[in-house]
Structure formats: structure tokens, C-alpha cells
């Protein structure tokens, strides 16, 4: 029985979260390879549909990482996306995926440790939650398509 390796998508804003990821890298701070980073100019660029499509395409967990509250490079992109995250969390609960698979985090460009910790904790949380409930159907269909 192989261990479940979650697929986690992290939308990271260029100015803070992505730079924090870079910092983690240059400081050689380990974080799981399960985390797939998508760089966006501002966390506010992430729309509700992006979050949904990530899960629809098979992500087991998704998070958005933006600047610290009050420090968004584009003024309030982070607070706008936080509201969308809250909205989609509820929607995910309603359809049986589970809102706890989606989170919002805040960090500054220098917080390499925080980036690594968030990535690790989120991966572990998703691991314990198990695979995205849609996956069995997806794999089945993929299997059928291949066959």
C-alpha cells in the first residue's frame, strides 16, 4: 500500500509569498515537493474559478499565499482574495469536497521559514484528509480513456 502523496497547489503572490519561497530555497529550508507553486502578480488576481478548477483537475489541497494584512503591494488584493477563499470554502463543503482543503495565508517577502512551515503543515493536513473525493471518478475515466 503506497503512501498517498497529496498534490497541493499554492497560488503565491510575486511580491511576498513567492519571494518568501525563494528565500526558503536560498536558505536551504526543506519543504515538501508536493507543493506546486503558481506565481501570480498579486494574490488578488486569483479568482474563485481558479480555486475551483484546481480541485476539479485533481488537486487534493489548495492555498493562496499573499502579503501580510495591510501590506499588499496592490493595496487590498489580499483581503479581496481572502473573501473569495471563504466563499469557496463554503461551496466546497456543500458539494462534498470539504472546505478545509482550501486555505488563505499571509506572509512577507522575508519569511522564508514561514513559507516552508505553511507548505509542510498544509501538505500534512491534506495527507491526513486523504485524496480529493473526485479523484476516484477521474482516475476511473482516465483509465477508460487510456484503455
Amino acid at each position: 500500500m503506497e503512501q498517498f502523496e497529496p498534490v497541493v497547489v499554492a497560488f503565491c503572490c510575486h511580491y511576498c509569498a513567492y519571494t518568501a519561497a525563494d528565500m526558503a530555497g536560498s536558505k536551504r529550508l526543506p519543504y515538501p515537493a508536493n507543493v506546486n507553486i503558481v506565481r501570480v502578480p498579486c494574490s488578488g488576481k486569483v479568482d474563485a474559478i481558479h480555486l475551483m478548477k484546481a480541485f476539479e483537475k485533481g488537486a487534493d489541497g489548495v492555498y493562496v499565499a499573499g502579503c501580510l494584512e495591510g501590506d499588499c503591494h496592490f493595496k487590498n488584493g489580499n483581503t479581496q482574495v481572502a473573501r473569495r477563499v471563504a466563499y469557496i470554502k463554503k461551496l466546497l463543503d456543500e458539494i462534498g469536497i470539504g472546505g478545509e482543503r482550501l486555505e488563505m495565508f499571509y506572509m512577507s517577502a522575508g519569511m522564508g521559514e514561514r513559507f516552508a512551515r505553511v507548505a509542510t503543515e498544509m501538505t500534512e493536513k491534506i495527507r491526513s484528509l486523504g485524496p480529493n473525493p473526485t479523484k476516484s471518478a477521474l482516475n476511473k475515466n482516465r483509465g477508460e480513456a487510456v484503455a
Partner: protein, 222 residues
Amino acid sequence: MITAERKPLEEIIASVKPFQRILLVGCNECVTVCAAGGRKEVGLLASALQMHFMTEGKTINIKEITLERQCDPEYVEELSVHMDQADAVLSMACGCGVQEIARRYKEKPVLPAVNTKFMGASERQGVWAERCQGCGDCLLGLTGGICPIARCSKRLLNGPCGGSTTGKCEISPEVDCVWQLIWDRLKALGMEDRYEDIMPAKNWQTGRGGGPRKIIREDLVE
């Protein structure tokens, strides 16, 4: 605009369950403005439904289309090319749109995805409030531009009642007492003496009470 809110997901899921191929139709007007059934909401609902059915081990086919309006036959006609590949239509438009689609495509089940609420206006981003009940005989000129029929919980034309408290309606502190608003407006307009004019009983025939209504413009009918 006509405002609406998406139905609870479990209600929508239950209604589309029997069908394999869904045509999900949004509307670019009122329901877009109140973020209930425009292109974005169509995308979100399609993804949500798809994922839900995947958790049950089945995939369904959802075609997403957003029409300019669903309340005009010319736009509803644009759906005809897709009808063969659909088992049912799920419309995110207000009740008017749902009915126009049903009227044109009589052999397809047409399901509503939103609950149509009221005619209203945006108070501020994300908040829409009821403004008009379509009484058919507008008296806004007499009440400083504020409607007691739409906004008074008891539809009083000679309000306020004895339950008005610090500018709020007796039913809830979240609801403004519209007669307080009207009085304040009449004062601001220097029209306080209007207050003691008795507004006579309303003729509800011009409203829905007289039966379903139609407007016919002879100069425009072919």
C-alpha cells in the same frame, strides 16, 4: 435590476440528477449585476456540479453558455444549435428567462438554478435591496422618491405605524422604517406640509392583484 440568489446547491443537485447532459445558461444582465447568474457564476456552478457528481463516481456533461439576456426570443434562439446535445437546461436567469427558454424549447425540461427575489438597486458593492414592487401606479413623486409599497413592511401609504423605533422597522433593527426616511426627505425638500395629506386607498388593479399584466405598444407590434 431584478435580483436573484443561487439556490442551495443540494436543491440544484437533486434537480439535475436524472440528467446526463446539461445546458447551463447564464444571463449577462440583471443576474450578472447581482452576481447570481452571469458568466462567472455559470463557471463556478458548472465546476461545483461536476465535482459533486465526480465524488459519486459519475461524470456529467455540462455545456456553459451565457446569453446577453434570456428574456428576449432573439437571444433564446441562440440556444437552438445546442439543444440536441442536452437532456435538460439549467438556467441561472431570473424567472422571466427560465420561462422564455421553456416556452421556446417545449420538449426540454428547463430548471431554475436561482431564486428570483425582488426588483432592487445596489446599496453598495455586494449589497442589493428591494426598491420596487411593480404596483403599476407610481407615487414616488408624493413621497420624496422613496417607495412605501416596496419598503414598508405593512405597505402603509399613511405611515409610520406605532412600531417605528429610532428609524427602524418593528420587525428588525436591520430594516429601515421607510416612513422615517420619507419624512426626513420631505423635510429636506421643504415639503413637510404634504405629510398630512391623506393618501387614498390604493387601486391594486394596476398591480399584480388585477391579474397577470401585459404592455402592448401598438406602434411597435408588427
